[in-house]
Point group: C2
Chain length 326, copies 2
């Protein structure tokens, strides 16, 4: 039987795949990736035809200590260049800046002095005015820009609409639909993508999708957003990311069936690194505690704690979550 | 933000949940479940509000040896009664009969002599005439009946339409949409569910959904079918089932949000049995080899062999699959 979806999507030249393994995966292992891992991932992504590789955060060293985190929490220019040189490839380099956690005026260099191509700003709904200042700063320094509005599953509809309008009016290139808590079902993603697309098209912006796998819906929600118009798609190798993790790069590349993308180098990377990463005790991926925070639309931190304590009393954890519902 | 889906579905009184853990899960461990496991699952399903519990196959002892399989491959009346007595509960008991592998004339008793309520017939498209004989036999003996048309992702559209019409004209109560190879994407499931529903409504039949998790889409495809009209939903505890496994009962019950269903006893069952089952070396659940057979629309047996041989050379396996494509 014909795979309409695959064919449909294969002819969407606007689609770009963003590898977030170091950034979202860094939340699993405190950014303690070996240089070998990072260099190999960089080479893998180039061979796989990935469009953007996110290296990590541009976190402020005033706020976070380099003793507590690996270098990809900070993404110093020289550290990125040690991996990519001048990045003489089509694949672009991205970093993330969190509102209130980034000394963006000093730490984001002018584009001509940096190998970074894309600055991604992550914001909560109430921080949007500050996010816009950061986006404008990056834009004026010469970077491509995207913005993630986080935790929208807890945001009232009219507030979200207002936030989207504010962002669409600034110079950001792409607005991301983000399911921070893995709380949304595909039908809701469809409706939200339509909302985001309506505003995006009015202002000539693109839409991105960043999903979490709490309900094993990260891939389903990503292709749902994709088939409804989203064009920047976040994924990580084997879904490596905080808590339940993200959309699996393997599934996404297989789905796209676009000759531009190649699944084989990603599978080779998984074979070489992912099992080893898990054997270090770095836990991620679907499990009942993440399902519970997902269906209760709450932050995964309590589920991560549950997993780290190697608890298995799921029902008791469920009651604890219900007792702590806002 | 309102969970439209959940609310929408919560008011579908026609929905029935079918637990297939023993039957599809039995394909993982050769039906070697302890009586304690089976009794506890029975009690768990009653507490969880499950509508049907499938105990296993009614396989012919002429074809299969009782030395090679646990008793749930055969589902003798006395074995089921040893667990459920007269089953004085609302939950109904189901068994599966495979075309060509069941001595249905002798092994399916008259309903008044059996604690079984539902006989599910599994058929390939070319076996439908025989399947109809088996369905009529079960129907005349007094059972509810369902039929699974397997491997439809390899069936030509007009052949499927013809098969569906033939089945809809017989006395079967429910026709199942089955994604045997985990090859379908939600958009395809939507289209197929519409096709099945059109025929079902014409003949007063219901539609069921049985999904596999090769692409981590079993749950997404199940709720896609559900929101498009399917009313019998197959799931297994922690997705236990052949290869990549099935739709997770935990996710499905959480999604339904119907007061009739209760997630807590299922989580308690998972805590008590599932990790232990995996520690016995019984492997199931999403992994790259199953993703590959899924996207290549082929039987999971080669992926199961790959996993059992503890191979990790995914790319080579991918090439082997491509070399063996029909």
């Amino acid at each position: 039987m014909e795979k309409n979806n695959g064919n449909l999507v294969a002819f969407r030249p606007d689609i770009k795949v963003v590898d977030c393994t170091l950034r979202d995966g860094g939340l699993v292992n405190n950014f303690a990736f070996t240089d070998e891992f990072v260099k190999d991932l960089y080479r893998t992504n180039i061979k796989a035809g990935i469009d953007y590789m996110e290296f990590g955060y541009k976190a402020s060293k005033e706020i976070f200590s380099t003793k507590d985190y690996g270098k990809w929490k900070f993404c110093e220019e020289e550290d990125i260049r040690a991996i990519v040189g001048n990045n003489d490839f089509d694949m672009k380099i991205a970093v993330m800046t969190d509102v209130g956690r980034t000394d963006y005026k000093n730490d984001i260099l002018k584009k001509e002095d940096s190998v970074i191509d894309l600055v991604r700003t992550a914001t909560y709904i109430h921080q949007i005015p500050t996010a816009i200042e950061m986006i404008q700063d990056a834009h004026e320094k010469g970077y491509e820009t995207t913005v993630n509005i986080m935790a929208i599953s807890k945001v009232r509809e009219e507030e979200l609409d207002k936030g989207l309008e504010l962002l669409a009016e600034c110079d950001v290139d792409v607005i991301y639909l983000v399911d921070s808590f893995g709380a949304f079902y595909p039908e809701q993603i469809r409706r939200l993508t339509d909302k985001y697309m309506n505003i995006a098209e009015k202002y000539g912006k693109k839409i991105g999708m960043h999903a979490h796998n709490n309900q094993q819906l990260a891939f389903a929600n990503t292709i749902e957003a994709l088939t409804n118009g989203a064009s920047l798609l976040d994924a990580t190798v084997s879904g490596m990311g905080r808590g339940a993790g993200n959309c699996y790069m393997e599934s996404l590349l297989a789905f796209l069936r676009n000759p531009r993308y190649n699944l084989v180098p990603v599978m080779d990377f998984v074979q070489k690194y992912i099992k080893a990463e898990k054997e270090k005790g770095n836990i991620w991926g679907y499990d009942i505690p993440y399902l519970l925070t997902g269906i209760l639309n709450s932050h995964p931190s309590s589920a991560i704690k549950f997993m780290n304590e190697q608890r298995e009393d799921y029902s008791r954890f469920y009651q604890e979550l219900l007792d702590n519902m806002e």
